[in-house]
Amino acid sequence: MDNAQKEPLQSSLRVQELIYGLKISEVMTKKVFAVTRNCTMRDVQTIMKNNSITGVPVVDSRRVVGIVSMNDIMNALEKGAMDDVVTLWMVGEVQTLAEDMPLSFAISAFNKFSFRRFPVVNKKNELVGIITFRNINMALIRELSRQLREMESLHGGPPERSDSLDLVKVYQLHRYDFENGGKASSEIKKFLKERGIPPKIVRQVAVASYELEINLVAHSNGGMLSFDINADRIKISSHDRGPGIADVELAMTEGFSTANEWIRSQGFGAGMGLPNVKRVSDEFAIQSAVGMGTMVRAVINLKKEKKDEH
């Protein structure tokens, strides 16, 4: 018997894929109210009241050095210390998020830390926005309505041809579920083969997606693998819910692996997975943050003069 677990609906997977597809920068509030070190708690209180917000980052030359929340205001108020500078009451060592991270990382961060908001920074570590759960809800509603509209406008269009290459498909994978790891690759391989894609390319796609599937099963807390295929290229994206890779460069080094003996006894963990994906892909990108997750994107072009490989 196959596993009793029912396959989640493609539509619900599409919603999850949204979380992975959106970047934090597309979701965050860009207009941030921040204060500098020499401002007082009273200044912050005024800003909060006038703008209906509950958290204000403290910056020093655009770098986040702390955050003041409603709670800190209460504490200062209680002690009659509203004229103190913010540095005396703020919470230092703020957890920030990077603007180019996928939205899924932010959701993991909300689950992991008890904060209500995260300042968002750019590559130079400068404050560029702030993200709250409200932002996430609004973004999801916005995107879902957009998708719905698209689907409605597509409805009644030409019927899907069975030889069409266009396909968007999402698969969900669970930790240590080696039994099902590989099913997605098999299906996609079959799909491409039936449409007459050259064996060499089919194989590249199968190898990349298989390695990514196994990575999700062997190393992540679970996640999803999505395929976006058209006549030009095959885009494979893998997203997981953590634990994240501490040193991505090291993880890309052949022979390096964090696999335990059990994973090795399953024939994996040789430290070749990610290098293998990169080897067969025309484009490859990886992004990871500890405690939040890992995202890998591999693109294999269909229209190309294949470079020699052995």
């Binding site: 052949e254 692996s257 003996e261 090795r264 040789a270």
Partner: protein, 114 residues
């Protein structure tokens, strides 16, 4: 054939040479350490691509005097250190496990490949 005879073969690069030279009793080809533990016979050389510290631990437990790492897989320092401590030789080869198994078998039989 001794371990030192393997060292003299062109196909192999010795990456851990502080070993106790011994007669090679046979070969065992595997990447699954539990399998090596269960089936490899003492005195065999282990032919594998599983290049890490635990391989040395298993080789030591079973009494395998040498490990041959195929496909030129990188051998990390901690593996070399562990092998040195146990007096186990480590060789690297660009050949795969099939080719290496044949080569070792031919030399064990006394009829080296041309």
């Amino acid at each position: 054939m001794n371990i030192s005879d393997i060292q003299s073969l062109a196909a192999f690069t010795c990456v851990q040479s502080e070993y106790n030279d011994a007669v090679v009793a046979g070969g065992y080809t595997s990447d699954l350490l539990s399998d090596v533990m269960a089936h490899a016979e003492e005195g065999s050389v282990l032919i594998t691509i599983q290049a890490h510290k635990n391989t040395v631990a298993v080789a030591s437990l079973v009494g395998l005097p040498a490990i041959i790492v195929c496909n030129n897989r990188p051998v990390l320092d901690d593996m070399i250190d562990a092998a040195r401590a146990e007096g186990i030789a480590i060789f690297q080869t660009p050949d795969n496990q099939f080719q290496t198994s044949l080569l070792i078998a031919q030399h064990l039989a006394g009829c080296p490949a041309r």
